[in-house]
């Protein structure tokens, strides 16, 4: 297995993941608009996912093809989500 030199501090990343989880939990009890709470909750989820993908899955150190394999399906899912809006969210 080829060494990639410096590895991320896995324990520190775990610390951030746990902290962000509590931030997300706290956000659900925030006063203020529902939309703001939801946005904050999902922002923390995205940051946590990025921390795991970049550091635990070592995407930071991988060639661009792997990035493409990870990102393209996400784009497809986003397209799917938006494409369904007119039928379900905006009611035919």
């Amino acid at each position: 297995m080829a060494s990639h030199g410096v590895r991320p501090n896995y324990l520190a990343i775990w610390g951030w993941l746990v902290a962000l989880m509590f931030v997300g939990l706290a956000a659900s009890f925030l006063p203020g608009t529902r939309a703001l709470a939801v946005a904050l909750i999902f922002a923390t989820a995205v940051v946590k996912a990025l921390l795991v993908v970049l550091n635990y899955m070592h995407l930071k150190f991988e060639p661009r093809l792997i990035y493409a394999i990870a990102i393209v399906p996400l784009l497809f899912v986003l397209v799917l989500l938006v494409a369904l809006f007119p039928d379900f969210v905006f009611h035919h």
């Binding site: 996912a49 990870a70 399906p73 497809f76 989500l81």
Partner: protein
């Protein structure tokens, strides 16, 4: 026809790693499709928050912690594999397996209490989504635990195939990421 020495200057990606990432790409579509459907249905109709109130946020938060920690132990197993430390590699794999089984145990307890209260997959659209999404995810956790266990046995002999720990880790972290999105989506919003 001479092929120049520089033709393959960039290192090729190991086949196993390519394979797992391709598989994860299809899994992104699978869970992404389910999650997109949930979001779209949720945005299209009112009254779902009431159903979600029957779920236990503290229990799911504990489960989130369990899975996050299992990702740490999994990547530490990988670090030990890189280092060639067989004993610690197996210890971290064992911890990962135990944490995965803990997640499943807590999920089973959750499902049992919810079914006892009368909330089955047929109770309504929220519950259909809830059981399908978390159930499919739980099956993925189970599959990961089984793979990790076979790795645990495999590296008990020689470390010849220890690179597979990285591949199993990729799958395990992905399953963790799915839960990172499922937890707020289903329990918190």
């Amino acid at each position: 026809m001479a092929i120049s020495a520089e033709a393959h200057a960039t290192p090729s990606i190991p086949a196993g790693k390519m394979g797992v990432w391709w598989f994860l790409a299809s899994e992104i579509m699978l869970f992404g499709g389910l999650i997109s459907s949930f979001i779209v249905f949720r945005l299209g109709s009112a009254g779902w928050a009431g159903e979600a109130a029957h779920l236990s946020v503290p229990i799911a938060a504990v489960n989130t912690l369990v899975l996050l920690t299992s990702s740490l132990t999994m990547v530490q197993a990988f670090a030990m594999a890189e280092r060639g430390d067989q004993r610690r590699l197996r210890n971290y794999l064992a911890l990962t397996i135990l944490l995965g089984l803990t997640f499943l145990g807590i999920k089973a307890y959750e499902y049992t209490s919810e079914i006892r209260e009368g909330f089955t997959p047929g109770t309504g659209i929220f519950w259909s989504f809830y059981y399908t999404m978390t159930g499919l995810h739980a099956l993925h956790v189970l599959a990961g635990a089984i793979v990790n266990f076979s790795l645990y046995v495999l590296v008990g002999g020689s470390l010849r195939n220890s690179h597979r720990v990285e591949l199993a880790g990729l799958y395990w972290h992905f399953v963790d990421i799915v839960w990172i999105f499922l937890f707020p989506l289903v329990y918190l919003t």
